[in-house]
Amino acid sequence: MPESQVNPAPDPLATKSYSVHLLVSTLLLMLTLVWAIYDEVEIMRPYKEYQARFRGYYTGFLMQKVRPEQAAKEEAVRSSAEYRALDAKVNEAEAAAANRVREIDTESAGVTARMTDARGAFQILRSEMDALRYLVEVSHDDEEKDDLRADIEDIRQRVVTAALTKTDGSGEVEEVEMKFDQLEDEFLGMQTRRAELQAERLAVLGAADAARQERDAFMSEQLVGLNSTQIDGLITKMRDFPIDIKQIHLSDIDLVDRCESCHLGIREPVAIGRADLRYPVFQSHPRPELLKIHDPEAFGCSSCHNGNGRATRSITKGHGRHKFWLYPLYHRENVEAGCQQCHAKEVVTPGAEVLNAGRSLFLNKGCWGCHRFESYDAESEELTTVRQAIGNLAATRAANAKEQQVSLDLGDSASDAAESRRHYARAEELRLTNTTIDAELHNLREEDRNLAKEVKKFGPSLKEIKVKDRKEWIPVWLENPHEFRPGSKMPVFRLSDDDIRKISAYLWQNALDGDLQQHPQGNAENGKELFETRGCLGCHSIGEGGERIGGNFAANLSRVGEKTNYNYLVRWIRNPAEVTPDPNVPDAMRPRPVMPSLRLSLGETRDIATYLAGRKTDAVYAAADYMDDTGLAAEGKELIRHYGCAGCHEISGLETEGRIGTELTLEGSKPLERLDFALKTHEAETEGWYSHKGFFEAKLENPEVFDEGKEKAHLEKLRMPDFNLSPDEIDALTTFLLGAVDTAFPEQYRYEPEDERADVQEGWWILARHNCTGCHQIRPGNVSSFMTMPRYTDDPDWAEQLPPQLYTEGARVQPEWLRGFLKNPALSETSLDRNGVRSYLHARMPTFYFSDRQISKITKFFMARDSQPIPYSPEPMEPLTAGERAIGRQLFTSEAAPCLKCHISGVPSRDVNASAPNFLIAAERLKPNWTFRWLLEPAAIAPGTAMPSELFRDDNGRWVFNGEIPVAARNYEKDQAELLTRYMFQMDNAELRRLQALQ
């Protein structure tokens, strides 16, 4: 059967239709295309939704809340008499100018129209000529050039018809036939006339403008927040608000921040709260004052806050809170970490209180005993450098001297004169070099002496324990210091019983032997009073739990009687610098204690020591004879080295031990993989704390946390001791560590000033190390230990006993005086047992063991803070006339201003009741400018001061006494406050006697 006869079913390959497949897959393709576009335009750009919402909410917020509120405030200002007077003035001036202005405006309109018309015709001709002129310039054929010039001249002579508006204000148009030059004249003439008219208009309206400015200035002065025009401006801005990426680009550090694409309210001039625009994302920056000094246009956002400034796709990506972004956004509690990266040289940064707390903890919990951190304990490193430099220079000097001798000898024995001269010249050169070296050495040795005084270990010297402490107490203390003294700075080491025995044996056997002077017991009751008022509690605390009073800079002394013997306490309190002689350490090399001397009399010292020695519980201490076992001691030394005790304490035989911990200066930028989460890695990853923050927090909360589950020998375990930190303290320290980064910012971004602001930075280090803020208020918001004690808060008499505020110390006192005062606060070589300035205060300004360099730095600190120059050169003061002196005397003693009632005047019988500083030393201590301001408004300088305010009133730019004006002063024309200042600064003994006689 031939194939053709068969009628087979159609071949599916050739005939099967794929239309449906094609249709479906093409539709799918179109669908994915649509999806791709939607993804690109919407899903990948979530900020569009944010911006649309912001526009709506913000406009509503402005219209419904801000505008009415501000309108009410504005209305209040408008209805005030002053405003109405100013407004009337504006209207008056405007009315006066109105006629002339109208005339000018009419003429100006005509002139402008005619000018525009003339310009049109004029420009056509000029363009034609310019084109030909160009051809002349580029032509190389003189004949052609001449032809072209002729053409130009033809155009110049061409008469054209121009339609010009008349200037009479009728608006009529006249047809004028003109040549090019005439048109030009017409145009320039109109231009000149218009300028004249405009100048005249300004002049005519001058008075009205000035009045309006005055009125508006008054309004902006009186009105808190924005005025209605500004608010309307914002509303208009929202109406035309473009939906796009809002970006800050800093080209020098290649920073691109698009944070404001979603955080749209951050820089708005209206304060937007978290809930005002429904979503917290739209709130304005909670601390706008910070943005004023760190303009986002110059600093960006992520430079302080971290996060991924470029990313706009999702919150997680923008905030950089995922595994692959190395700089995740700081959490709220650690936000000040961002400050540290540029303010790394500071220990106090105003406004960054959490960070300051972290730095303070690092300093005052002794973290730097084990962990190096740049700037902390910088003195010991400087000392090493200086000593090395001294060694090098001395060696160079010796070599030079030797070569000098050789050159001299060679010169003596040289055969010819030239040779001899050459050798002598060389010897001379070396001699001169050595003279220079001598000068350098002198400076370095001076610095060495200063530094030797400044270098201080964190903890007490353990060389003293034999003369100081009870033997059996030592192992108890080592086992758990926080049990004996809750909150102690000595952390809890995880020592085995064996460790404790060995360590205490070594410490005991290597402590110094010495004899203490024996003292009779004092009066404990008086001791308690002195202890609580002399200033001990500025640093120390006493009492436990709710009973606790005092500062936390130094030890809590509630149980000090259990450990320290009475005679040692007397020696230590009376003169902390006195130590048991150590044959191995010369006196100059001996570190000075942080504890200052309060210049107490022996009696007072005994009273306090008696009181403290009685502070004990009836705890029983087990005998510790093993501490005399020399075998244990040998092993103890290795353990002490292992646990790094010598990082904080002076220990015999371990004076040169280094730090055992890891350096933390750049800990925040250490790669996360280098932080050993050990067996916690997986847990941290799944629970979301696999981050620097998580590591620091876990480690600070429980220093052995990363040993959990690990099989380790006792000495292989993590050594970091437990400080029992509170959650706030952990936050503060974490903030500090997170900010401890290797900053990528160039120098101009970092806060490393070289002017007087550097003095402020340096000064804070000394102030922080010596706890000046324990007694004084140096910065607003700073609460001293005294201010927390019930005695000072509850009793108004005692409130006057608070140590002085030092907010404006630099403006108040003269630098040279301050230097002397810091060296010897008694201001006397003989009677040390007193305060030099405020002898009425129970609390005493102690004598610190400052080096000269430190004193100089502190002085510079106070001066720099108040922008005061060093050295201080007083303005010459106008001498007092006899009449003025009499007025001054009368003012000084008047009923309304009884200065001598409070101020010390040098009469012992009266000074007993004095409660204000000694004004006899005013001339050498104070600055006249400050004194003048102080007289006018003391409360503005020292809030809460007992010095009365409003002693003077403003009488047309002149200050006059506010009380009954003394007879002699009634006809006095000049400033009376200024007179009083001069009187004080020109006080001499004769005048003083006269003054005292009046009293």
Binding site: V6, D11, P12, K323
Partner: protein
């Protein structure tokens, strides 16, 4: 069973192709083979019935008389290819929208990531580094692979099977492909992706990739196991073992190649050079799984240690 860990690995955008490969590769192998077997059956029928052979062509579709023996590329092939192109485009677009490029943190030269993995298509090579020295695994082997691929058309002159799927006529080629590509190459990629964790340690699926994991694994050279301690005996011993391997596996391959009448016929057509080159490449390919087995099962580090190279 750490499901979280398993999901982390499987869902990583980088690993999606591998996970896909695990399913797609066997599927298409099966699909191709099914076609091959169908064709083989057709070939059987045509060989048995000469009449049928005159009118039939080797189409897989159930053949009917009257159908054209050949079809034009346009439109019959191209429309299918176009359809395929559209579908692939859809898949690629959905993929690129749904999964972001797996970018990680900026590179830090002083800190390598752990595990540090090559792109997925190179993971087989990286896995080979476990078993051979870098210059063998990273230079010699890849070069041989490329050379091997280049010489295939010069070794394999069998004209049968061109343009249609068949198993019976290309048994040797198909087995070599299945062994060399699917079993060796792809499996190594899967191991490298899913099995190798931190420290390039072996983690079974579902085990936690623990960076702190410590395992006791001491690899020794073969001569140490036997107890030979000094050169040149070490070198000679290793050479003998490697030579022995070549001899034994060469013989085994030869037996395999000469197993059927069909393959003997093909062998007869080959020149000696073709045969030797083929044998050499085959044996070297075979050495890879042998070394893997020796390493993973018997902890053998090197078989042949010489002052110049180690294998």
């Amino acid at each position: 069973m750490d499901w979280h860990q398993l999901w982390t690995i499987v869902s990583l955008p980088d690993n999606i192709p591998i996970v896909g490969m695990i399913f797609i590769l066997p599927f298409f192998t099966w699909y191709g083979l099914r076609q091959a077997f169908a064709n083989d059956r057709l070939i059987d029928r045509l060989e048995a019935d000469p009449d049928l052979a005159k009118t039939h062509h080797r189409k897989v579709e159930p053949f009917q008389k009257g159908w054209a023996r050949e079809l034009h590329v346009w439109p019959y092939l191209l429309r299918m290819e176009f359809l395929a192109a559209v579908i692939v485009t859809v898949i690629l677009m959905v993929w690129s929208i749904a999964l972001d490029a797996p970018l990680e943190e900026p590179a830090n030269p002083s800190l390598t990531m752990n595990p540090s993995k090559a792109p997925w298509y190179f993971l087989g090579l990286q896995e080979m580094l476990v078993y051979f020295d870098p210059w063998i695994a990273g230079v010699l082997m890849p070069t041989l692979i490329i050379i091997g691929l280049i010489v295939i058309p010069y070794i394999d002159e069998n004209p049968l099977g061109n343009g249609y799927y068949t198993f019976r006529q290309r048994k040797f080629a198909i087995w070599t492909f299945i062994f060399g590509f699917i079993i060796l190459w792809s499996t190594m990629i899967v191991i490298g992706t899913l099995i190798r964790g931190p420290g390039w340690m072996w983690f079974w699926p579902g085990m936690t990739w623990d960076h702190n994991r410590v395992i006791f694994e001491i690899n020794r050279d073969l001569h140490e196991i036997v107890g030979i301690t000094s050169q040149p005996w070490i070198g000679l011993f290793g050479g003998a073992v490697v030579g022995g391997f070549f001899a034994v596996s060469g013989y085994a391959c030869h037996r395999l190649i000469t197993a059927t009448a069909f393959s003997r016929k093909i062998l007869e057509r080959m020149t000696l050079a073709q045969y030797v080159i083929m044998q050499a490449l085959l044996i070297i390919m075979l050495s890879l799984p042998v070394k893997i087995a020796a390493r993973l099962l018997f902890r053998v580090k090197y078989v042949w240690v010489t002052p110049w190279f180690n294998i």
